[in-house]
C-alpha cells in the first residue's frame, strides 16, 4: 500500500497518516458498526469462541475442584508458598496496563494515533484485570472469607492490617478495575447510540438504547462527554503507575532476597507496559487481519507500539542489570546467592529464557524492517508475553525456593491443575474478548470520525 510508505517532502520525513486515505464519516461508521450489526456470527468467530469457551469451562472445573479440595491441588509447598497463582496475577495485571496507558496518558498527551486501538486496549485491560483479580481470591486458603481483607463495619471492630501490601493490593486493584470500567463505558456511550440508531432488530435497539443512556449527541452531551473523558483520564493516569507499583510492593515489602529491592516499582511499571503493548499487538494483528481493518489500525500503529515495547523493554533490561549489580555490590551473602542461584540453580534454564525473551529478542525491534513486518512483530509480541510471564516466575518462585535456611530449600513444580487454572483464565479472557468484538464496536467510531474530520481539514493545506 502506498499510503504506508513515508512521504518525503523537502527532505523532511513526515509522519504517515494515522488512518488510511479515503475515509469519510460515513465509511468509518459503516465499517466499524457493520462488524457488530451486520457482520454477524461468522464461522471463524464461532470457532474461536468455542475454543475460548471450552477453556472457560476448564476454569470452571478447576475452581470447583479448588473449592472442594483446597489449594493443595497446586504445586505450592514450603518454602514456595506462592506459585502460579501469584505469577499469573502479576502477569495479567501487567497486561492491563497498556490499555490504561493508551486511553489515559496518551489522551492527555494528545497522541492521535491511539484512537484506533484504545477501545480494544481498554477492553483488554478490563478483561485482564478480571483474570488477574481471580487469582488472589483463588489462591487464598479460605477464599470465602475474602472480605476480611476489606475495611467493613463489624462488631469486633476488626480492621484489615494496613501495613500489609496485600491490603494495598485490594484497594489498588479494585480502584483500577472500577476506573477502567467507567472510562471504557463512558467512551462507549456515543458509539452505543450509533449502534442503537443503526440497529435493525428490536432487541438490539432496546439493549443498545438502554446502554447508551439517552445519548442524543447534543452539544451539551458532547461537552460533558469530553469533560468526563478528560477527568477520567486524569484519574486513570496515576493508576498506570500506582497499580503495578503496589503490586511490586507485595514483593519489596517482603524480606526474601530477590524480592526486597527498591528498583521494583519503576521496573514493574515498565514491565507492565511492556507486556501490555505486547498483548495489544498479539490481539490487534489477527483482528485487524480478520476484520479487514488495515486502514484503521495501520502499520503506523503497529510500529509505534513496537517502539514503545522497545523503550519499556530497555527499562526492564536496566532493571535486571541493576538487580544483578546490587546483589553483587551489596556484599550481602544472601543477595549474592539469590543472583547466583538464578544463574546456576535448578531453574537456570528459565532465567536464560527470560533474558532471551525480554532482552535479546526484542532488540530486533531496532530494525525498521522488523517493526514493519507483521509476522515478526507478532512473533516478538508472543516472545515478550512469554518473557514477562517468566520474569514473574523468576521473581516469585526462584526467590522463594532458596531463601535463608538451606534445610528448607526445595524445588517447586506446578501440577496439572496449576496449568489448568492458567489456561482457564485464558478461556475467561478470550471468551469475554470474543463477546466484546461481536457485540461492541471494537474501535471507537466517535474518535476515528474526529480523526477523519481533522485529516480532511488538513488536506487542503497540504
Amino acid at each position: 500500500m502506498d499510503s504506508e510508505g513515508s512521504r518525503n517532502i523537502a527532505g523532511v520525513t513526515e509522519p504517515e497518516p494515522i488512518i488510511g486515505p479515503g475515509h469519510t464519516f460515513e465509511t468509518v461508521t459503516d465499517k466499524i458498526s457493520s462488524i457488530v450489526l451486520r457482520g454477524g456470527t461468522t464461522p471463524g468467530w464461532v470457532f474461536g469462541f468455542l475454543i475460548a469457551f471450552s477453556l472457560l469451562m476448564l476454569l470452571n472445573l478447576v475452581v470447583t475442584l479448588l473449592m472442594i479440595k483446597g489449594v493443595g491441588i497446586w504445586g505450592i509447598r514450603v518454602p514456595t508458598a506462592w506459585g502460579f497463582a501469584i505469577v499469573n496475577f502479576v502477569w495479567w495485571i501487567g497486561i492491563g496496563h497498556a490499555g490504561t496507558l493508551i486511553s489515559a496518558i496518551l489522551l492527555l498527551l494528545h497522541q492521535k494515533w491511539r484512537t484506533s486501538i484504545n477501545r480494544f486496549a481498554e477492553a483488554m485491560t478490563i478483561f485482564a484485570v478480571m483474570c488477574a483479580g481471580m487469582f488472589p481470591l483463588l489462591h487464598m486458603g479460605r477464599p470465602w472469607l475474602f472480605f476480611y481483607l476489606m475495611p467493613y463495619p463489624n462488631p469486633m471492630w476488626m480492621w484489615p492490617q494496613f501495613r500489609s501490601p496485600l491490603v494495598w493490593d485490594v484497594f489498588a486493584v479494585s480502584t483500577y478495575f472500577t476506573v477502567s470500567l467507567l472510562f471504557w463505558f463512558v467512551g462507549l456511550i456515543p458509539d452505543l447510540a450509533t449502534l442503537r440508531d443503526r440497529a435493525k432488530s428490536k432487541a438490539a435497539k432496546i439493549i443498545y438504547g438502554m446502554l447508551s443512556m439517552g445519548w442524543r449527541g447534543s452539544a451539551v452531551h458532547w461537552s460533558r462527554y469530553e469533560t468526563a473523558s478528560l477527568l477520567l483520564a486524569g484519574l486513570a493516569t496515576p493508576l498506570v503507575v500506582s497499580v503495578h507499583t503496589v503490586v511490586s510492593f507485595d514483593f519489596t515489602i517482603g524480606i526474601i532476597p530477590g524480592w526486597h529491592t527498591t528498583i521494583f516499582p519503576p521496573y514493574f511499571v515498565a514491565g507492565a507496559i511492556y507486556s501490555g503493548f505486547a498483548m495489544v499487538l498479539t490481539l490487534a494483528i489477527p483482528i485487524r487481519k480478520y476484520y479487514h481493518l488495515e486502514d484503521l489500525v495501520t502499520m503506523r500503529h503497529l510500529e509505534t507500539m513496537a517502539k514503545v515495547m522497545l523503550a519499556t523493554g530497555l527499562i526492564v533490561a536496566y532493571g535486571y542489570a541493576i538487580e544483578a549489580f546490587m546483589a553483587y555490590y551489596s556484599g550481602d551473602a544472601n543477595e549474592r546467592y539469590m543472583m547466583w542461584n538464578r544463574i546456576h540453580g535448578p531453574y537456570r534454564g528459565l532465567y536464560f529464557m527470560l533474558i532471551a525473551c525480554n532482552i535479546v529478542i526484542p532488540q530486533s525491534l531496532w530494525s525498521r524492517r522488523v517493526r514493519r513486518s507483521i509476522p515478526m512483530l507478532f512473533f516478538v509480541s508472543l516472545v515478550v508475553n512469554t518473557g514477562m510471564w517468566l520474569e514473574r516466575f523468576v521473581i516469585v518462585v526462584i526467590s522463594l525456593s532458596r531463601d535463608f535456611i538451606p534445610s528448607s530449600w526445595a524445588v517447586y513444580l506446578p501440577t496439572k491443575w496449576d496449568w489448568a487454572t492458567y489456561l482457564g483464565t485464558f478461556g475467561l479472557f478470550f471468551t469475554l474478548f470474543y463477546l466484546f468484538i461481536r457485540f461492541l464496536p471494537m474501535i471507537s467510531i466517535v474518535e476515528v470520525r474526529s480523526l477523519v474530520h481533522e485529516t480532511s481539514e488538513e488536506k487542503p493545506h497540504s
Partner: protein
C-alpha cells in the same frame, strides 16, 4: 549384576570427594546430591517431584487420603465438611471426685519398650488421656521421654486397633473366649503337655509370678519369649563374661570418656532416656558448671543419633567392631588374641589414642557394646570396663530385671521345633507378632499352623492374629493394670487412665483364664501379687499401694548392685562365637528402625512421618549404603535393587548415607508390614525376609543387584539440592553455607575465645528499626536451645505433635513439601563424605521481636502478643501464605488440604482440648505452647503471684531427654533461660536480618582428642 554399567546414573562421588578435599574438609553440605550435582541428578530432581510422578498430580486420591489422616482414619474428601458433629452436652448431676472441667489431672503409670519400663505421667482431660510426659520420679525417665513413649497415645485411640474377640475370622465375645479356653484346658493332659506360651520380654513381676504359677500347675507346659530386636547379645554377653545373664546399669554422668562399640545408647535400649540425660549433663558448658566435659568415641556402621553426638566417630562395618574391641581390649591390658581377619579400616593411631584416653581415665571411663554386636564383643566390653576399674563406678551390675531371662532366639527355635514335630496342642501368643518378625529360616507361619489350637492376644489383628483361631484384643497400657521393671529394676506400676475403649484384656487377664482366676480383674491380680510380696500388711500396705500408684513406682525396688567376677576363660569360650565376614563381601546389618522400632509402631502415623535421624527420610526404610560403596557398585539414591542373602531375596530402594561404613548395607526392620492397619500396611520394605536365625544382626555375602526401577523417598531435607558444579560462582554457594546457622568450635578454642559465637553485626543491627520497640511490662517469653546437648532424638517433634494436635499428611504430601511439624531437626554435615561431622539444629518458630510474618498478614491473623509471642489467630486466617513466604526460618506450616481428621470419632478423645484443631486453608506454627502459658497464668493469678521460673514447660522441653531446650521469662534476669542466654555461646539465627528471635541457640563445642586428627 554388572558393575556400574551406567556410571552416569550414579552420584559423582569422586568429584564430590575431590571438591571436599580441595576445600580442606571444612565446608558445610547437606546431601550427596548437592555435592556432586550431576545432570542426571537434576533430571531426577525434576522427575522426582510430585508433578510428574505417576500418582495423581493433585496428590490426594481417595485411598491416600484415607491413609494420610492422623491415625489412619477416613476422611471423606469434601473439604467443606469441617462441620462438627452435633453433640449434646449434659452436665454432671454428681460430678466425679477431683474432676474440674478444663483442668487436667495427671496420673503416673509406666510404658514398656522391649519389656523395660519407663515411668510416665499421663495428662487426662475429663477422663480422657491426651498427652504423655515423663515421670520425674522415675529413674528411667527423670521427667523426659522418647519418640515411642510420646507416640504411644496415638495407639490408644487408633481406629485400626483390634476391637473385638475373633474366632476363626468371625466376631466373638470375651465370655466365649474364656469358655473356649476352659474347654481346651480340660482337654489338655493334666500336666499340660503341648501347651505353649509365647510372650515378648517379660519384666513384670506379677506376670512372671502368674507364669510360674501356671507352669507349676502344668509342669509340662512351656513358656517361650521372643523379642525381634531384644537384648539377646547383651544377655549372652553377660552369660559369657560372668556365667549368668546379669543386668548392666551404666552411669554416664560419671564417665569422662565413653567408647561406644556400635551402641546407640542415646536412643535405644533399656534406660536410654536416662542415659541421654546423664550424657548431656556432661556437655553443659555453663560458667558455673563444675563438671568436666565428657568425650565420646563411637564406632558404628550406620550413623545414629549417638554417632552424631560423638567427638570422634569411626565408621566401621559391624563385623569389624569385633576386631576394634579386641584391639582396644589389648590396648588397655586385657589378654585377648587378635582377630583372625583383622580390619584394615581401623587406624592404629585411633586405637592407641583411644586406649590412652581410656587408660588415663581409669574408673571414669565406660565402654558399651551395641545390640548388633556378638556376645563376645559384649563380654569384651565388660572385660575392658573391669580392667579399667570402671565396675562399681560407671558400670554397675544387678541381677536380671527379667522375670525369666532366656536366650530368646533359642527359645523361639525350641518352639518352632516343637511346632514342626507336632508336639504343640495349644499355642498362646501374648503380644507378639512372630509370623511377621521371626527369623525367616524358621518359617514361622507354616510352623504355627501345625499347632492344633492357636490363640493370639494383641493390640492389632496383625499377621499372626490372622493365622490364629482365637484373637483377643489386648488392652493398651493406658487401659491396663500391670507392673514392669525399669532398666535398674525399679518396679513401676501400670495403672489405667481409661476403661478399655474396646474389648481389650491384659496379658494378666488372659493368663488368669488358664489358672482358673478368670474372674479376677487386672487390678486385683497386680495388687494381690504385691500384697503377697511386701512385708507391709493391711493399712501399711494400703498406704504403700496408694503412694506407689501416686508416684508411679514402688520405692526401693531398684535392684541392688552385685559384684560379679569375670570368667577367666571367657576369651576361649567366646572364640567360637566370634564371627567376622570376609572384608571383601558385602555385609548386611539389621537394626530396629529409629522411628517404628521392630514394626510394633508401624501403624503410628506420627512415627511414620517422623524424619529419621541423619537420613531424614519418612514413611520408608531403605538399603542404606555408604558413598564409597555406592561409587564402587554404581548405585545411587533411589535405585530399586534386589538384595539376596543366601537363598532369600527382598527388594528395596537404595539410600546413600554419608558416614556409613563401606561394604555394608543397613536394613532397618519394621517396614513392609502386610497387616498393620491403614497406616502401617504398605510403606517400606520387609527386611525380616532376609533375617536368619544364624545371622540375626549381621549377615555376610549380601548380593545387591539393580532392577532398573526407581524408588522415591519422602525425605524432609536431603532431597534438596545445592547446586555445586565447580562453577566460577562457586564462591556464592559457599556463601550460602557460611551463613553461620550452626556455630561450632572445639573445647580448646572455646576456652581461648568464649565469645566465638558472637557476631559484630548482630550487636550493631539490634537498634536499627523505624518502629518503636514493644514494651514488655510483665513477662517476655523466650527459649534457649543448647546445640551442645541436643542429640537429635526427635522426642520434641512427636511431643509437639501430640500436644498441639498436629496432623499427619502422608508420604505423598511429605514429598510435596507439606509436612506439618512445628519443630524440625535440621541436620547438616561438615567435612568429608566418608566420615563427616554431623550437626543437629532443632528449629521451632523463633518468635521474632521484629517478626517478618506479622506485618505482611493482610487480616492481622498473626500478631504480636503483649508477651512477645507471634500469635496465630486461626479463625481470622484466610490463608494468603504471605507470612510463610516472609518467614526467613520457614517454620510456618499451611493446611493445603483438610489434613486434620474431623471424621474419626476415636480420635476426638486424643486431642488436646486446649488447642484448636486446624482446618483447611489455615496457617499454623509453633506457639511456644501458649495453652500451657495461659494455664500457668490462670494458676498464678488465682494464687495472686507471678509465674515461677520453670512453671511453664513447653511440650518439646518436657520431652527432651537431653534438657537441651529451656523456656522461660527473659524479663527476669534470674530465670534459667535468661542465664542461658547470657552465656557467651548464645547466638541467634540470621541475626543480620534484625528479626531478633526470642529463640536463641547455644553454640556447639566439640571435645575432640587432640591426638586424633580426622
Amino acid at each position: 549384576m554388572t558393575q556400574d554399567s551406567n556410571p552416569k546414573n550414579s552420584i559423582d562421588l569422586a568429584a564430590a570427594r575431590a571438591k571436599l578435599a580441595g576445600e580442606g574438609g571444612r565446608r558445610f553440605w547437606q546431601s550427596l546430591e548437592e555435592l556432586s550435582d550431576t545432570k542426571e541428578y537434576r533430571n531426577f530432581l525434576e522427575n522426582e517431584f510430585p508433578a510428574n510422578s505417576e500418582k495423581d498430580a493433585e496428590g490426594v486420591n481417595r485411598r491416600d487420603v484415607l491413609k494420610l489422616m492422623a491415625a489412619s482414619a477416613a476422611m471423606a474428601g469434601l473439604s467443606a465438611c469441617t462441620k462438627l458433629p452435633t453433640q449434646k452436652i449434659v452436665p454432671y448431676v454428681r460430678p466425679p471426685e477431683q474432676i474440674i472441667p478444663g483442668r487436667p489431672l495427671f496420673y503416673a503409670t509406666s510404658t514398656q519398650q522391649g519389656g523395660v519400663a519407663t515411668g510416665v505421667l499421663v495428662e487426662s482431660h475429663m477422663g480422657r488421656p491426651t498427652k504423655i510426659e515423663g515421670n520425674p520420679e522415675h529413674p528411667g525417665s527423670l521427667g523426659s521421654s522418647d519418640v515411642f513413649t510420646q507416640a504411644s497415645i496415638l495407639h490408644l485411640y487408633d481406629p485400626d486397633r483390634s476391637q473385638t474377640v475373633m474366632y476363626e475370622g468371625r466376631v466373638s465375645a470375651w465370655s466365649d473366649f474364656v469358655a473356649a479356653i476352659g474347654n481346651a484346658r480340660t482337654r489338655l493332659s493334666p500336666k499340660g503337655a503341648g501347651l505353649c506360651f509365647l510372650t515378648r520380654t517379660v519384666t513384670s513381676p506379677t506376670l512372671g509370678s502368674q507364669m510360674r504359677g501356671l507352669l507349676a500347675q502344668f509342669p509340662e507346659a512351656k513358656w517361650h519369649q521372643y523379642e525381634p530386636c531384644g537384648q539377646d547379645s547383651a544377655r549372652e554377653g553377660a552369660r559369657l563374661a560372668f556365667g549368668r545373664p546379669v543386668n548392666t546399669v551404666y552411669h554416664f554422668d560419671q564417665a569422662d570418656v565413653i567408647v561406644s562399640l556400635d551402641a546407640d545408647f542415646l536412643s535405644r535400649g533399656p534406660g536410654h532416656v536416662r542415659y541421654a540425660r546423664e550424657f548431656s549433663s556432661r556437655r553443659d558448658l555453663s560458667a558455673g558448671s563444675a563438671s568436666k566435659v565428657n568425650r565420646l568415641y563411637v564406632a558404628e556402621s550406620m550413623p545414629t543419633g549417638t554417632g552424631a553426638s560423638a567427638d570422634h566417630r569411626l565408621p566401621l562395618r559391624s563385623a569389624d567392631i569385633d576386631d576394634l574391641a579386641r584391639q582396644l581390649a589389648a590396648a588397655v591390658g586385657v589378654a585377648v588374641p587378635p582377630s583372625a581377619n583383622a580390619s584394615a579400616k581401623i587406624p592404629a593411631t585411633w586405637v592407641s589414642a583411644v586406649g590412652r584416653d581410656l587408660a588415663a581415665h581409669r574408673g571414669s571411663s565406660l565402654v558399651i557394646a551395641g545390640e548388633q554386636q556378638s556376645a563376645f564383643v559384649h563380654a569384651l566390653a565388660h572385660a575392658i570396663n573391669a580392667a579399667l576399674g570402671n565396675v562399681g563406678k560407671t558400670v554397675v551390675y544387678t541381677e536380671s530385671i527379667e522375670a525369666n531371662p532366656v536366650n530368646q532366639l533359642e527359645s523361639l527355635r525350641d518352639l518352632v521345633n516343637d511346632l514342626n514335630a507336632g508336639r504343640v496342642e495349644m499355642l498362646v501368643i501374648i503380644d507378639g507378632n512372630p509370623v511377621y518378625d521371626a527369623p525367616a529360616d524358621f518359617n514361622f507361619a507354616d510352623a504355627l499352623q501345625r499347632a492344633k489350637l492357636r490363640v493370639h492376644s494383641g493390640l492389632y489383628k496383625d499377621e499372626t492374629a490372622e493365622l490364629c483361631h482365637w484373637h483377643a484384643p489386648a488392652a493398651h497400657f493406658l487401659e491396663s493394670w500391670s507392673d514392669a521393671r525399669a532398666f535398674d529394676g525399679t518396679v513401676g506400676i501400670v495403672q489405667p487412665l481409661i476403661a478399655p475403649l474396646y474389648d481389650g484384656h491384659t496379658a494378666h487377664e488372659v493368663l488368669a483364664t488358664f489358672t482358673g482366676d478368670s474372674g479376677k480383674s487386672g487390678h486385683d491380680l497386680v495388687r494381690n501379687y504385691w500384697q503377697s510380696q511386701r512385708p507391709e500388711k493391711d493399712k501399711a500396705f494400703e498406704t504403700l499401694w496408694e503412694t506407689s500408684l501416686h508416684d508411679g513406682l514402688i520405692a526401693g525396688t531398684a535392684l541392688p548392685a552385685i559384684s560379679v567376677a569375670l570368667h577367666a576363660d571367657f576369651v576361649s569360650l567366646g572364640r567360637s562365637q566370634a564371627t567376622s565376614g570376609d572384608a571383601s563381601t558385602l555385609e548386611v546389618v539389621f537394626r530396629p528402625d529409629p522411628s517404628i522400632g521392630d514394626g510394633e509402631y508401624a501403624n503410628n502415623g506420627w512415627l511414620q512421618e517422623l524424619p529419621k535421624p541423619v537420613t531424614r527420610i519418612t514413611w520408608d526404610n531403605a538399603a542404606m549404603i555408604s558413598p564409597g560403596t555406592a561409587q564402587q557398585r554404581g548405585l545411587t539414591t533411589g535405585d530399586y535393587v534386589s538384595l539376596k542373602l543366601g537363598d532369600r531375596t527382598m527388594h528395596a530402594g537404595v539410600y546413600i548415607v554419608p558416614g556409613h561404613a563401606d561394604n555394608c548395607v543397613t536394613l532397618h526392620l519394621g517396614y513392609g508390614r502386610s497387616r498393620a492397619g491403614n497406616v502401617g500396611t504398605g510403606p517400606g520394605f520387609n527386611a525380616y525376609l532376609l533375617r536368619n536365625s544364624s545371622s540375626p544382626s549381621i549377615g555376610h555375602g549380601l548380593q545387591i543387584e539393580k532392577t532398573g526401577e526407581k524408588y522415591y523417598f519422602a525425605s524432609i531435607q536431603q532431597q534438596y539440592t545445592i547446586d555445586v558444579e565447580g562453577h566460577p560462582a562457586e564462591e556464592e554457594s559457599q556463601a550460602a553455607f557460611s551463613r553461620d546457622l550452626v556455630r561450632i568450635t572445639t573445647l580448646e578454642e572455646f576456652r581461648k575465645d568464649p565469645a566465638f559465637a558472637k557476631r559484630e553485626e548482630e550487636e550493631k543491627t539490634k537498634d536499627l528499626t523505624m518502629y518503636p520497640g514493644f514494651k514488655y511490662d510483665g513477662y517476655a517469653w523466650g527459649m534457649s536451645i543448647d546445640l551442645n546437648r541436643c542429640i537429635g532424638c526427635n522426642a520434641c517433634v512427636v511431643a509437639c505433635q501430640s500436644e498441639n494436635n498436629i496432623a499427619v499428611v502422608g508420604k505423598d504430601q511429605v514429598m510435596r513439601g507439606r509436612v506439618m511439624h512445628w519443630i524440625r531437626i535440621d541436620t547438616y554435615f561438615r567435612g568429608n563424605l566418608d566420615n563427616p561431622e554431623m550437626y543437629y539444629e532443632p528449629l521451632p518458630c523463633q518468635q521474632c521481636e521484629n517478626a517478618p510474618c506479622e506485618y505482611v498478614c493482610p487480616v492481622a491473623a498473626t500478631t504480636h502478643s503483649p508477651e512477645g509471642l507471634n500469635d496465630m489467630t486461626y479463625n481470622r486466617c484466610v490463608g494468603t501464605r504471605y507470612c510463610s513466604n516472609n518467614c526467613p526460618y520457614k517454620v510456618r506450616r499451611f493446611n493445603y488440604f483438610l489434613y486434620s481428621d474431623f471424621k474419626t470419632p476415636s480420635l476426638y478423645g486424643m486431642r488436646n482440648p486446649n488447642v484448636t484443631v486446624r482446618s483447611r486453608g489455615v496457617m499454623e506454627k509453633c506457639t511456644y505452647c501458649v495453652q500451657r502459658i495461659n494455664a500457668a497464668r490462670i494458676r498464678s493469678e488465682e494464687e495472686n503471684r507471678t509465674i515461677r521460673d520453670g512453671e511453664i514447660i513447653t511440650a518439646c522441653q518436657s520431652a527432651c531427654p537431653a534438657e537441651a531446650i529451656v523456656f522461660g521469662n527473659i524479663n527476669d534476669p534470674n530465670s534459667r533461660v535468661s542465664k542461658l542466654k547470657a552465656q557467651t555461646r548464645d547466638y541467634s539465627l540470621l541475626d543480620d536480618l534484625n528479626t531478633r528471635p526470642r529463640t536463641t541457640y547455644l553454640a556447639r563445642v566439640r571435645n575432640p582428642n587432640p591426638e586424633i586428627r580426622d
